[in-house]
């Protein structure tokens, strides 16, 4: 459980460090998060064989969304090991000038 939280935090940092990711989303219905004792990491759901990352994309886009998702996946893949990575675009937000 603590390992899942650690992995979720690392995945969150990697996703946020990707150009074009404005912030992490929290899902549309139930909150997308990884829960641990007294703590949670929003925007990343760690499952035994999959990691789901919810992102909010900056608009204007840097390339297309599939390309951005691929960049996030590449950064996160180093952290998640053999688990599949699913990227969910929760929203697009216009960058404030």
């Amino acid at each position: 459980m603590a390992d899942d939280l650690q992995l979720a935090r690392a995945a969150r940092e990697a996703a946020l460090a990707t150009e074009g990711v404005r912030r992490l989303g929290t899902g549309r219905w139930a909150e997308a998060a990884t829960y641990g004792p007294g703590d949670k990491v929003s925007g990343v759901v760690v499952e035994p064989d999959e990691v789901e990352i919810h992102i909010v994309v900056s608009y204007p886009l840097v390339g297309s969304i599939p390309a951005l998702a691929q960049r996030v996946r590449e950064k996160v893949s180093l952290i998640v090991g053999g688990r599949a990575t699913t990227i969910v675009i929760d929203d697009l937000e216009v960058d404030q000038v």
């Binding site: 549309r28 969304i65 599939p66 390309a67 998702a69 996946r73 990227i87 675009i89 929203d91 697009l92």
Partner: protein, 192 residues
């Protein structure tokens, strides 16, 4: 529909549990209870007689057409409920490519933004349907002032939405655009 199926099953199981408890009470002749009196006790003596007659008719192969029709309807309803229960649930997210999804809300926002870029569009309503294959079905109703060239506006809205969604990378399998005339005093963008 799954919720409906669950309610049916819960009610059925609750009824069976109640009948089971009643059967135990009556089977052991607790108090003055006798199994033969159970239908009367629960006020279903008429139904019990009817069921007895029905079972007798079914065994002798002399069911009346109404009974056959009711049985066929029950079988049909059962098949429909079974099919709906076994059908995989509709996906909630629009698949862009393997492992990458976008929420319906995000697609709706993009389509609305693109549709309302044109000053002639007073407001727009977008509905996005998710499909199992990559892409989404997008249905747009754009409201314009009366007397506008709806054909030209429809093409304009379609082009803008297609371009915007293509820029974002959302595959669209079916894009429907309807242009409806509306009273500008009642739309989001008011025109005096």
């Amino acid at each position: 529909m799954r919720v409906f199926n669950r309610i049916v099953v819960v009610l059925l199981l609750a009824g069976l549990t109640a009948l089971g408890i009643a059967m135990i009470v009556y089977a052991f002749d607790m108090g003055d209870h006798r199994l033969a009196n159970l239908p009367q006790a629960i006020g279903l003596s008429g139904a019990s007689d009817g069921l007895n007659n029905f079972a007798t008719n079914a065994e002798s192969g002399s069911l009346n057409p109404l009974d056959v029709a009711v049985l066929a309807a029950i079988a049909l309803v059962g098949l429909i409920l079974l099919f709906l229960e076994l059908k995989p649930p509709s996906p909630r997210l629009v698949r862009m490519q393997t492992g990458t999804y976008i929420t319906r809300g995000a697609v709706e926002n993009e389509a609305v933004t693109a549709a309302e870029e044109g000053p002639e569009v007073l407001e727009s309503a977008v509905s996005v349907n998710v499909q199992r294959k990559p892409g989404a079905k997008v249905d747009i109703a754009a409201s314009v002032k009366r007397g506008e060239d709806t054909g030209r506006l429809q093409t304009g809205v379609r082009d803008r939405v297609q371009r915007r969604l293509a820029d974002v990378g959302v595959p669209v399998s079916n894009l429907k655009v309807r242009v409806v005339e509306a009273d500008p005093r009642e739309t989001k963008t008011r025109v005096n």
